[in-house]
Subunit: 199 residues, 2 copies
């Protein structure tokens, strides 16, 4: 048996995720988590002041996991900016869709959680938009891109918004329709035409 390592916030988060997976968002209680950990619920409250805080921490963790790999694409060199933007957006869509597909129950659960923590979601969006802005900036520097709006961050946001049907969980129900690939690629083409300097 593994030794009963000290109860850490991290350990609680892991178990909470498991409880969310098995019970669903609306039925996951702090007591469930405490029971799963074999401690009293008071102990959990020592690490997270409220249930909302605990759920928020799990949400933040999940979002970070979902978008962590993307930053690598931004940093890579040796690729044209249009290719990079294309690859970044495709990776975002693929990651979200995979999450939604492999465990729909859990995904629905997180969808519920996202609604509860708009603050966290906004931070996440800010991070993603920041990455798009970075790619646009690289493209502009290379003479490949133009900003559709004078403000680079608003331009990046426009790219983010225009591709919303392919990364916003609100649209998850449609991510496994046939034809979705075609639609995605058509929007990608449209957006790229919009930001690319005419040859």
């Amino acid at each position: 048996m593994t030794k009963p390592a000290a109860l850490t916030a991290e350990r609680i988060l892991q178990e909470t995720e498991e409880v969310l997976r098995t019970h669903g968002a609306s039925r996951a209680t702090v007591m469930d988590v405490a029971r799963a950990l074999g401690v009293s619920h008071g102990t959990v409250y020592r690490h997270f002041r409220t249930k909302a805080e605990l759920r928020e921490a799990v949400t933040r963790r999940w979002l970070k996991n979902a978008s962590g790999a993307l930053v690598l694409i931004v940093q890579e060199g040796g690729e044209s900016a249009p290719d990079k933007l294309r690859r970044w957006l495709s990776a975002l869509f693929a990651a979200k869709r995979r999450k939604a597909g492999e465990d729909p129950q859990l995904f629905a659960t997180y969808e519920g959680l996202l609604g509860e923590h708009s603050q966290v979601v906004e931070e996440h969006i800010g991070e993603l938009v920041g990455q798009i802005e970075e790619i646009l900036e690289q493209g502009v520097a290379r003479g490949e891109f133009r900003y559709p709006h004078p403000d680079p961050s608003i331009s990046a946001r426009a790219v983010f918004d225009a591709t919303a049907p392919f990364h916003d969980p609100k649209h998850a129900a449609g991510w496994h329709r046939s034809g979705i690939e075609t639609e995605f690629s058509a929007v990608l083409d449209l957006v790229l035409l919009g930001v690319t300097v005419p040859s």
Copy 2:
């Protein structure tokens, strides 16, 4: 007193809308409608075979009302295609946002109904995409637009999808945030750059 005009399907739809407005989607029953009309519920079932059919008819009616004025913009002449597309998309956003704002209770109600009748929603989307396709076609004919995708209808769909945050009810919660106008106008610029022939 007005004469008790024969009970028509139209009359039932009107009253159903009223009941939906006052009771909300989940609490609106066929019996409520029948009571409001002063008839037995069996009579309502003479015009609509099921509750679902009645709700669907109301939904269809509402969607038609929401998009009816747009077709006029498509048909107008004497305007460049970019201006027309801009105006059409702005009108769509304005109409949806107005609906959502003026009676949020009723809007939420219809949002629920839309989920029940995906068939009707798809028809509605098909109609809107058709109108966009028409505008694109006019623009291509005038040498102002290019198709981002070889297939005109897929191109139109891309324009529709790229502007989803500003017409899809799933995003309605954000339609009264400050900054939404800026975001909309940035996406509009991006999309128009995408479909416009470089000068």
